[in-house]
């Protein structure tokens, strides 16, 4: 398989996942904005999406309309939903024959539609529906590849892209709000805190999952536990790293045992998550832990590219 093909399917999957994550961040910010400080929620969303610096260069103040535009449709923002769609589609097109028809149609169909529609107006006037449209498209892509792709190297690279991007996103969302999860903070325990904790769950669409898993009201320690260590939570770091390690192992098998730095890194991370305890993480410092996770995820990404795509 050409290195370029692997690179393109991997980034295709990453950009699609990024669209999905940004759509969820906007959605959570919008919902929460009515309950707490509006500016604060949008600021968090921008930081979690890694767009705070770019935004600050363009706007002096954070407003919901500007933040939604910047995250949703701004071509100057390389991580905006539309920018990601543009790049996903360019990658898909360059490796069209490596994709199944359903995958191509999911990406290309969304791209064609985005060009036909006035996305700016939609974001300003019909934000919830527009975000639903994005999530439908990304879900369609995920469904298309898991139900139509051969389980070969192309599929493994696609999965790597999806879960690496997702792990990065979950770690960022937690890190933006880690302070509200610290034991020192939860002493307050007021209504506002409750909303802060819930906003994290909403950003990864995990409010109901929380209740299913813990059957209790929302406690900050549980929120961190759910999103970091719970294997049954599909956006937890643990679940993402299980998938990443698995995909790398399958690649190793299909390449006659060829393995290297990515396999070592992913294996170490997966084991750490598997045997970790939330109390220990909290004691050692949640912020430090999450920062380290974000950094190690980034270096794993770089090692994967170096090992397979150069």
């Amino acid at each position: 398989m050409l290195a370029r093909t692997a690179e393109s399917v991997y980034w295709l999957a990453r950009y699609i996942e990024r669209m999905d994550n940004v759509a969820r961040l906007i959605e959570a910010a919008q919902r929460m904005a009515g309950l707490s400080s509006q500016t604060e929620e949008w600021r968090s969303a921008l930081t979690a999406a890694g767009c705070d610096v770019g935004y600050a260069a363009k706007y002096d103040t954070v407003t919901s309309a500007n933040a939604a535009m910047y995250l949703g449709v701004d071509p100057d923002n390389p991580s905006s939903i539309l920018s990601s769609l543009e790049k996903a589609r360019a990658n898909a097109r360059s490796v069209r024959t490596a994709l199944t028809r359903d995958m191509w149609e999911a990406v290309n169909g969304a791209w064609l539609e985005s060009r036909r529609l006035d996305m700016k107006a939609l974001v300003l006037e019909h934000l919830p529906e527009t975000l639903d449209w994005v999530k439908t498209m990304t879900t369609r892509f995920l469904g298309a590849y898991s139900s139509t792709m051969l389980r070969n190297e192309i599929y493994f690279f696609t999965r790597l892209g999806t879960f690496l991007e997702r792990a990065d996103n979950t770690a960022r969302i937690l890190d933006v709000k880690y302070h509200v999860l610290l034991p020192s903070y939860s002493g307050v325990g007021g209504l506002l805190d409750y909303y802060q904790w819930t906003s994290i769950l909403q950003a990864v669409s995990a409010t109901r999952a929380y209740h299913w898993v813990y059957r209790s009201e929302v406690f900050p320690g549980n929120v961190a536990d759910l999103l970091i260590l719970k294997p049954e939570m599909p956006r937890s770091l643990r679940a993402c790293y299980d998938q990443i390690a698995d995909a790398l192992e399958l690649l190793q098998d299909s390449y006659g045992g060829l393995a290297g730095e990515p396999h070592r890194l992913a294996g170490a991370l997966a084991a750490q998550l598997r045997y970790g305890r939330i109390d220990d993480i909290m004691k050692a410092g949640l912020h430090e832990y999450l920062t380290q996770m974000i950094e190690r995820t980034a270096s794993l990404g770089a090692e994967i590219e170096r090992f397979y795509m150069r």
Binding site: L2, R4, R93, S94
Partner: protein, 483 residues
Amino acid sequence: MFDEMRAEGGAVRPAYAMVDRWLKATPQAALDAKKKEAERLFRRIGITFAVYTEGGDPERLIPFDMIPRVLGADEWAILERGLKQRVRALNLFLKDIYGPAEILKAGIIPEALVFLNAAFQAHMQGLEVPNGVYTHVSGIDLVRTGPDEFFVLEDNCRTPSGVSYMLENRAVMMRLFPDLFEGGNIAPIQRYPETLLKTLRAAAPRRCNGDPTVVLLTPGPFNSAYYEHSFLADEMGVELVEGPDLRVQDGVVCMRTTRGLQRVDVIYRRIDDDFLDPLAFNPDSMLGVPGLMAAYRQGNVTIANAPGAGVADDKAVYRLVPDMIKFYLGEEPLLKNVPTWDCSKPDALSHVLDNLAELVVKEARGSGGYGMLVGPHATKAEIAAFAEKLKANPADYVAQPTLSLSTCPCFVESGVAPRHIDLRPFVLTAGEEIAVIPGGLTRVALREGSLVVNSSQGGGTKDTWVLRAPSQQQSQSQSQGQG
């Protein structure tokens, strides 16, 4: 005007008997319905081809006409022999001009025509290519003006395209009208990708042992023929690579794969010479592979078609192909050339200037129909302006009579009517073995009276049938009571 289906007086020619029966057996209403169904089906099947194009938009496909263009077994036998003969001579010519240059020494072809030719590649001089093959894939454009009057209009020895349409048209016809193909009267063409792969593998460098790795080199998704590149790569089961996927290491061409570098033996390139290797040709090219030509010259990789093969399809060289055939093969040319005046010669020039209104004048080195004058379709002012250009640079032009291209019935708004057609058969050369896929791409000028078959100007395509001689046809299974 020669119609391929009907003789003057309306009698149906033998090759078209089957098409005639089919058209007659189907009442007009059913034919219309069939045509609608055809369009629907074609769109659907078209999608499997259009997936390679921008947005899967079937509108981008060249219009397809359902009525096939038919060539009888005898007609084809002559064409096939003629095509093989011509391509054999073109390869010998290329081998000669990059080697001993005997045809130049013999004074049959002027040196300037070769050495000053923009397509000539000095890098190729003195290089022995595997099996002496330079043009592995050739597209020879033919037109017909009478029962036995076939003319070669143009040779294409660089990167001829269109073969995907040939295959697609047949696939569509077989899905639409499976009955027509029963009994095996029509020569199959589906093995083109397989034959192409065999041809490319046969071109592997001598030092390649065993199983050569073939790749198809494309300029990328923004090239207009990209879908054909990806289609052929898919059909052959080879990697579709772009310049940056390849790299030359220690004189060996490798592609970057997820397992590391993998050696490449044969490159079926669908990019022009100028973009092959920035070190050897165009230093500004982003498409090429630095060091490719050096690897080629060391015999570590084969480039197909060979760089510099374009000298053989030059319009001024074209005029001399019949002489080439006599010189190299000692045979009379089986396929005729269209009479061509080389405007660099004073007497030819004065003849051309006197008769501009009847002639077609082309740039000797141009391609794609640019800068061309079609006398009978031009205004007096256009002719006068062209005469000035011609007088200023006569050596840049060649002139030909305006041919009355044959016609074939087509479905048009008002029913069925004749339209002008041409033919591009594809010739694959693997050493001594030359294969001509029976048929080729028939292009049709769908606008009434038009002679221009280019898709940009309302041209369409048809399935092209070559009938098999009775001995080649499948025998029917025995039935009860025949004994």
